[in-house]
């Protein structure tokens, strides 16, 4: 297990270096001079331009710039935003809880519905249930989620008026950020209706964000279950006279979970990509919307820092999934 862990860590470090290099390289090949973009329409004097260039280190050779950037990254310094003049690191972590809250809700929905759907479809293979569930899953899998979001807004916000169109919280409520999670903060504030408002704002975005991971998990669970159900040890379990619930839910699912865990881990990347669209449509003040806005504003330090942070997060999740995989699969654990 330790050896397994170390070998995973061994691939983590060079990948981290590469990710840093790529996010660094982007800002240097972006068209347009970042200093001039930053100055905006007011324009600059030649001296001021030179001063800013040296302030941001753009007059140094590339390798020096990279070294400064890399050592900065290791100390949590991702530069400052051109637009707000706040450190990118601080901006990232003030917006991150919003994305995390949305993503956690989405992944909970996806697992809670996708896993049972996949198991049921596999157990009732070829029957009506299987077909209905898998057709639905394929539609979900093929869904352009930005359109799906608009449709839900038309129906639930427009026609029925059940849910708000954008944001995280109704305008009536004000309270302090404690955890950054609206669901928790609204409860802590003790204001009546605040929690309900948070839930209302969260429902549509989480459904939209959950759609594709849900479909992927359901499909993967079904195929993993089908493969496992034809194994000899399932016949052995049935030959012991165990109930179908125990055979499918314990003996089969435990083995089917091994590939499914990987898929759940991989869907974190999908989730973050989906967050870009979902947050933009629902004006959800999280990382995805922040990235899109910064790209349009040409706020290069933010694009660079955000890209790096997101990639590192994906890598971390993959590392955790790998370790979890080792835990759930005894063939790796005991080697």
């Amino acid at each position: 297990m330790l050896k397994f862990f170390l070998s995973r860590l061994g691939t983590f470090i060079p990948t981290f270096l590469g990710v840093t290099l790529i996010s660094f390289a982007f800002i240097r090949v972006l068209p347009g001079d970042p200093i001039i973009v930053m100055a905006g329409e007011r324009g600059l004097s030649q001296e001021r331009y030179e001063a800013l260039r040296s302030q941001y280190g753009f007059d140094q050779p590339l390798y020096v710039q990279f070294w400064e950037y890399f050592t900065g990254v290791l100390q949590g310094d991702l530069g400052t935003s051109f637009v707000t003049n706040r450190p990118v690191w601080d901006e990232f972590f003030s917006l991150f809880p919003a994305t995390l809250e949305l993503s956690i809700c989405a992944i909970i929905i996806a697992i809670a519905l996708g896993l049972p759907a996949g198991v049921i479809a596999a157990v009732y293979r070829g029957k009506f249930f299987d077909r209905a569930l898998m057709s639905t899953a394929l539609i979900g899998y093929s869904m352009p989620i930005f359109w799906w979001a608009l449709l839900l807004i038309i129906v639930f916000s427009g026609n029925l008026g059940w849910t708000p169109v954008s944001g995280r919280m109704g305008l009536l409520y004000f309270f302090d950020d404690v955890t950054g999670f609206m669901l928790i903060d609204s409860l802590l504030s003790g204001q009546e209706g605040a929690f309900g408002s948070a839930v209302h704002h969260l429902i549509l975005p989480s459904i939209v964000l959950a759609t594709i991971p849900l479909a992927v998990i359901a499909r993967q669970t079904r195929s993993a279950m089908l493969e496992v159900l034809s194994e000899d040890y399932i016949r052995t379990a049935r030959a012991k006279g165990l109930s179908p619930g125990r055979v499918n839910g314990l003996h089969a699912l435990r083995n089917a979970m091994i590939p499914v865990i990987t898929v759940i881990g991989l869907s974190v990347g999908t989730l973050l990509a989906g967050a870009i669209l979902t947050e933009t449509i629902f004006s959800w003040p999280g990382i995805g919307k922040w990235m899109v806005d910064s790209i349009f504003r040409r706020d290069y330090p933010v694009v660079q820092g955000g890209l790096l942070m997101i990639a590192v997060m994906v890598m971390f999740v993959n590392l955790i999934v790998d370790l979890l995989y080792g835990l759930i699969n005894p063939k790796i654990r005991k080697r």
Binding site: R125, G126, S230, E231, D232, Y233, R235, T236, A237, R238, A239, K240, G241, L242, S243, P244, H251, R254, N255, I328, N329, P330, K331, K334
Partner: protein
């Protein structure tokens, strides 16, 4: 009275290229404490008929029988729940591939205790004690430690011992062993067979041994049923079968045994068992039978009386009234 009694059992699989009949009108009888061997080539439906008895066939299979009873209780009329109380308890089975027949995600101890918890009223401590006792019975050294092992940490022979321990955990009255030694090394094969017959003598359970190895049959079985292409072609006590086989297929199988070879070249049976698409009319063995004539190739053979080993043949061998052999 028979412990297991099956009359006219047929099993049909729905495949993408049409129905396939794997078992065709087979009768099985096992008395308490008897060792019955079911012999046949691969694809002769011997495993399938026993899986049907256990109720372990996949959903693509259709099972029909005139009678199918265990200890006088009708298996066909039983609810799924009642049947699950029976199998794993009074009626147990072990399989061909020990390595893949145990769940890789659980320790072998867990998998045995699971059967005990389902079918007995033992508490946790008693279950553990019973597991150790079982491991000693099947000859696994250091049982305390082995109970905590995962299947992939044990050898094939050890896993088969675990399978046997699991099957006999609830003291079954009938144990079905489906080619229990095929996947094992030759040296281990004899050990496992000795273990099975020893346990059978000790506990007095019935034993059905599915095999394609005539040598195994000669050493262990009391009675032999020979199956060919899904049909039972002969059924005799073991000595009688080896002395006077009545079906040409049995005779050919016996002639192919190295111990019985009289010439330099070992005789073989030409051709293969007919599959889904090339089933002959009349007797299924006729294309490979050296005695077959036009009757054999057009008319389905009758079942001969018990004196002639219930042979499924128009012209049984060693028939007393004929001077054929």
């Amino acid at each position: 009275m028979s412990l297991l009694k099956i009359r006219n059992l047929s099993v049909t699989f729905t495949t993408s290229s049409g129905p396939f009949r794997a078992v065709d009108k087979v009768d099985v009888d096992v008395r308490p404490g008897e060792i019955l061997a079911i012999v046949g080539e691969s694809g002769s439906g011997k495993s399938v008929s026993m899986l049907a008895t256990m109720g372990l066939l996949p959903w693509t299979a259709t099972v029909t029988a005139d009678e199918m009873s265990f200890d006088g209780r009708d298996l066909r009329a039983m609810s799924g729940k009642a049947r699950r109380r029976l199998i794993g308890n009074d009626l147990a089975m072990i399989f061909q591939e020990p390595m893949s027949s145990l769940n890789p995600c659980f320790t072998v101890g867990f998998q045995i205790r699971e059967a005990l918890r389902k079918h007995t009223s033992l508490d946790a401590k008693a279950r553990h004690a019973r597991c150790i006792e079982l491991f000693e019975m099947v000859g696994i050294p250091a049982p305390e430690r082995r109970l905590k092992a995962f299947p992939h940490q044990l050898s094939g022979g050890m896993n088969q011992r675990v399978m046997i321990a699991m099957a006999i955990a609830c003291r079954p009255r009938l144990l079905i062993a489906d080619e229990p030694t095929t996947a094992l090394d030759v040296t281990i094969q004899a050990q496992i067979l000795d273990l099975l017959t020893g346990l059978q003598a000790e506990t007095g359970m019935g034993l059905i041994l599915i095999t394609h190895d005539m040598g195994v049959v000669a050493e262990t079985a009391e009675r032999v049923a020979v199956q060919y292409a899904g049909q039972k072609v002969e059924d005799q006590p073991v000595d009688a079968l080896f002395d006077t086989p009545h079906h040409p297929y049995t005779a050919a199988l016996l002639a192919a045994l190295p111990e019985r070879a009289t010439e330099r070249h070992l005789p073989t049976i030409p051709g293969v068992v007919p599959g889904q698409h090339d089933r002959p009319a009349g007797c299924l063995f006729s294309p490979r039978c050296k005695f077959a004539d036009d009757t054999c190739r057009t008319i389905e053979p009758p079942v001969q009386p018990p004196e002639l080993g219930l042979a499924l043949c128009h012209y049984p061998l060693h028939a007393p009234q004929e001077a054929k052999a």
